[in-house]
């Protein structure tokens, strides 16, 4: 049993193996992700009923919540990968962090941007320096820091581990984001979705939202696979299989 897990682990750590698996999964991730996201967005934009108080401006929720959700969970995934990098020195984990950090930064930016645009008609301001907004801004800075450090350290191994340390240090921000709305009396409303309770939202609103979140998740999976493939190709440039692959034109 233990032997088997070990073998699986080794296999999982092999970039070549991952490249193949990713190639197989990517069309599915892209197709299902796009369908779900589009369905969620179209439903949310055109078919979901208007909200009783906010009218139509609440339709921003269908992109705001998925972006914010992904922005945080990407960071958590990066942190898990950082632990794997530091403890088991698995190459793929580092490749994941490298591939995914820019995606996380873009999604954090989107969450902040859509939040600002949504805030104007509902709260009456583009931006307030309240705990949730500030901690999201810090998350964006953390992503920038990770990206900058990644490119600053030339040596492959120390870059991987240095970035992992930085990612782990930044994890303290995640619980602050999560609980900021409960600890402080912020303008930002508490979470609509909770694991333990029924969503405090009408079903014809939360079902499309769920679609959008799942769709964006799958799309992120596609992006992560694609970008990890790029990193693998860069790093394994000199190996036999990459040369064969390049000769065959990338398939």
């Amino acid at each position: 049993m233990w032997q088997f897990i070990r073998q699986l682990f080794h296999k999982f750590g092999s970039p070549k193996w991952f490249y193949g698996i990713a190639s197989k999964m990517m069309p599915w991730l892209l197709a299902i992700g796009l369908i779900l996201l589009l369905a969620g967005l179209v439903w949310g934009l055109a078919f979901a009923p208007a909200e009783r108080l906010q009218g139509n401006s609440y339709r921003i929720i269908f992109i705001h919540v998925p972006s914010a959700f992904l922005a945080q969970s990407i960071y958590i995934m990066m942190a898990v990968a950082a632990v794997v990098t530091l403890v088991w020195r698995m190459k793929l984990a580092d490749l994941f962090v490298r591939a995914v950090a820019p995606v996380g930064a873009v999604l954090t930016f989107l969450a902040l941007f859509t939040g600002a645009v949504w805030g104007k008609p509902t709260w009456g301001t583009w931006w307030v320096w309240d705990a949730r907004l500030t901690s999201m801004l810090i998350l964006l800075f953390l992503y920038f820091g990770v990206i900058v450090l990644m490119s600053a350290i030339a040596d492959e191994k120390s870059s991987a581990r240095g970035v992992a340390v930085l990612v782990l240090v930044g994890v303290v921000n995640i619980p602050i984001i999560k609980y900021s709305v409960e600890w402080w009396n912020t303008l930002h409303q508490p979470a609509t979705f909770k694991l333990t309770e029924k969503p405090s939202m009408a079903p014809e609103m939360w079902v499309p939202l769920l679609f959008a979140v799942l769709g964006l998740y799958l799309l992120f999976g596609w992006l992560a696979c694609l970008r990890m493939q790029t990193e693998i190709l860069k790093r394994e440039r000199r190996t036999r299989w990459v040369r064969d692959l390049a000769a065959a034109g990338g398939n």
Binding site: A48, P49, A50, E51, R52, L53, Q54, G55, S57, Y58, I61, P121, T122, W123, G124, T125, V128, A131, W183, W184, N185, L187, Q189, P190, A191, T192, S200, M201, A202, E204, M205, W206
Partner: protein, 152 residues
């Protein structure tokens, strides 16, 4: 005990002690009012400092909004269903501002008990529902139907 194990144990104990103290201090801190937010009851009982920029929040009392016909000055009462405080504000109110809705106002409490706000923000709760549903709910409560606020 093996020396290396003993060393590890010391480190772990050191970590745990640090974390425990930090958690304890944080929970103490969170029980204090550290973001200068006061509800109407606190303001009425004189807990809020005068002439300092504070935040106040609560529900806008039904039928309390008085608009000036000369300029954009609005006066309304903010209540937490125990006490209420009068808020005066000059400026454009957010779309979501309405009687019976939550607001957060930033400004200063004057000695006469009026809260003069320089910013009024509407607070939305985590409940989203379509107008028909809320209408049905309100009818069920038989508390006077309100016009659906579709196009505000």
């Amino acid at each position: 005990m093996h020396p290396i194990r003993k060393k590890r144990l010391t480190i772990i104990l050191f970590l745990l002690a640090g974390l425990a103290i930090a958690v304890g201090l944080t929970t103490y801190a969170l029980r204090q009012n550290i973001n200068l937010f006061y509800d109407p009851t606190q303001i009425a009982s004189g807990e809020a400092p005068l002439d300092a920029r504070i935040r106040a929040g609560g529900m806008v009392k039904q039928g309390s909004v008085v608009r000036s016909d000369q300029d954009l000055t609005v006066e309304f009462e903010v209540t937490d269903f125990v006490s209420s405080v009068t808020v005066r504000y000059t400026g454009i109110l957010p779309d979501l501002f309405d009687e019976g809705q939550g607001v957060v106002a930033m400004g200063r409490l004057h000695p006469d008990g009026v809260f003069v706000a320089d910013q009024v923000l509407a607070k939305h709760d985590e409940n989203y529902m379509p107008p028909e549903v809320s209408d049905a709910l309100e009818k069920a409560e038989a508390s006077g139907a309100r016009a659906p606020a579709m196009n505000q």
